[in-house]
Amino acid sequence: MSRIVADKIVVDFPIYEASARSMRNALLRTTTGGVFRTDAAHHVVVRALSEISFEFQEGDRVGLVGHNGSGKSTLLRVLAGAYEPVSGSLEVQGRIASMLNLWLGMNSDATGYENIFLRSLIMGMRPREIAAVVDDICEFSELGDYINMPLRTYSSGMQMRLGFAISTCVSADIILMDEWLSVGDAAFMKKAQTRLDDMLGRAKILVVASHDENMIRTTCNKLMRLDHGKMVEFTAI
């Protein structure tokens, strides 16, 4: 059983300017009590998500839409478990695969082969699991002998292919994506699309943020619209 239940989740980002981040103000606040309070507590707080409640069930393909800065990416990071909401509750059941950053954990000085292990370990795989998929990743990414070269020698397309190949080798209950992944030239794109569809097909819940509303309307069965951190629409499509 996979599901995500959010109840009035709030995310506030504090903005510390140089003076507020220093200890002086915190000390002043504790020693002088109320006097400086209004002054010292002058942290600007940006409310990125404002009391959002929803429930995603198995089979849901949720598309997140909204303008830049509407909170789509923040919501994805909250679902990924990186940010814990300031208030409200979030319950996630199921193994999550976060496709928000396909290269997280990679090292540009390490070889492609090493990076397969680095990236997979960060995704939570065990060495034995990685050993089972490493050949598939090498083959799929079509890097040939480049797999033994440092990542920084790769073209951006090659880096993209490697990151994509590794990140799509796991199976998960819940998949989080920021924008649709598109990689490589036409021939590779077709192959990639098949692999992605296969992975998404096995997943029970998909949450994808995108500016491409048409794409979402054809692929997803639910649409959530965010505006200035508020959920303004959550409908079945």
Binding site: R21, M23, R77, Y83, E84, I96, L104, L121, I122
Partner: protein, 267 residues
């Protein structure tokens, strides 16, 4: 200090346990940092060893003379002290950056924060393994009297590592929130080098020996240094190290419970 809720406390403990159990992640991250120094450099981290070695080689004869010490005893003492000091100070200094430096991970994936602290401790232990060369070279010129006390070294290192975890979490949190603290710690560590019996013996203080005894770093230094030099650490140092462990961990746990979830917002 606001009250600590049971739920927050259990989440902090879970972070700690999950972190320690992530045995494929923190050793790899720590090793990557060492490996980074080897890339495109023939001897990599040994450059640091060479610079520490040069310091021991240069300071040894000078301070041995200033402090009127017998060189055959003083040079091994200084080399050993120095190598352990680099471990202690390295953990403290890197701890300040444990969370700040892991911003990319912390903001994007769910991963126990303890992983980043264990990475710091592990990396510094690996650096120490490189620096052992200095002790071996000195031992070649001034052969030490090997004894069974060498078996106490792992125990001492374990205590240092365990304390490195709470120090790392505490300093990592404070430094993530208040960006003045890393600078403050850096200058304090520099002063602590001279105030801690690294280059001198606590006995030299005579009746003022307690000044050294009050220094927590002295005890952690001593529990590894004494066995390395063929002796047995005084019981007082074991007690002090254990006391610091059982006091430090709960304090860190309270602070960690309260502020763990804030870290992604701070880094």
């Amino acid at each position: 200090m606001p009250a600590v809720h049971r739920k927050e406390l259990s989440l902090a403990i879970k972070d700690l346990v999950d972190g320690v159990c992530s045995i494929y992640i923190w050793p790899m991250l720590g090793w990557q940092e060492i490996k980074q120094r080897y890339r495109r450099s023939v001897i990599g981290p040994f450059w640091l060893t060479i610079s520490y070695g040069a310091m021991v080689g240069g300071m040894g004869p000078l301070y041995g003379r200033l402090l009127q010490q017998d060189m055959s005893a003083y040079l091994p003492y200084l080399a050993t002290s120095f190598v352990i000091w680099v471990l202690l100070s390295g953990i403290i200094l890197d701890a300040c950056n444990a969370f700040i430096g892991a911003e990319g991970f912390i903001k994007q994936v769910k991963m126990p924060l303890t992983v980043h602290v264990l990475r710091v401790v592990w990396k510094n232990l690996l650096i120490m393994a490189h620096n052992l060369v200095i002790i071996v070279i000195v031992a070649f010129f001034y052969p030490p009297n090997l004894s069974w006390s060498l078996l106490l070294i792992p125990l001492g290192l374990l205590l240092i590592a365990v304390n490195g975890v709470w120090v790392g979490i505490l300093f990592g949190l404070l430094c993530a929130r208040f960006r003045d603290i890393p600078q403050m710690v850096a200058s304090l560590v520099q002063v602590a080098f001279f105030l801690t019996p690294v280059m001198w013996h606590p006995e030299m203080l005579g009746r003022k020996r307690w000044v050294a005894e009050l220094n927590p770093l002295y005890h952690f230094l001593e529990i590894v240094r004494a066995p390395m030099l063929g002796g047995i650490p005084p019981m007082s140092s074991w007690y002090a190290a254990l006391l610091i462990t059982v006091v430090g961990f709960p304090i860190t746990l309270i602070v960690f419970s309260r502020y763990r979830a804030r870290v992604p917002y701070w880094v």
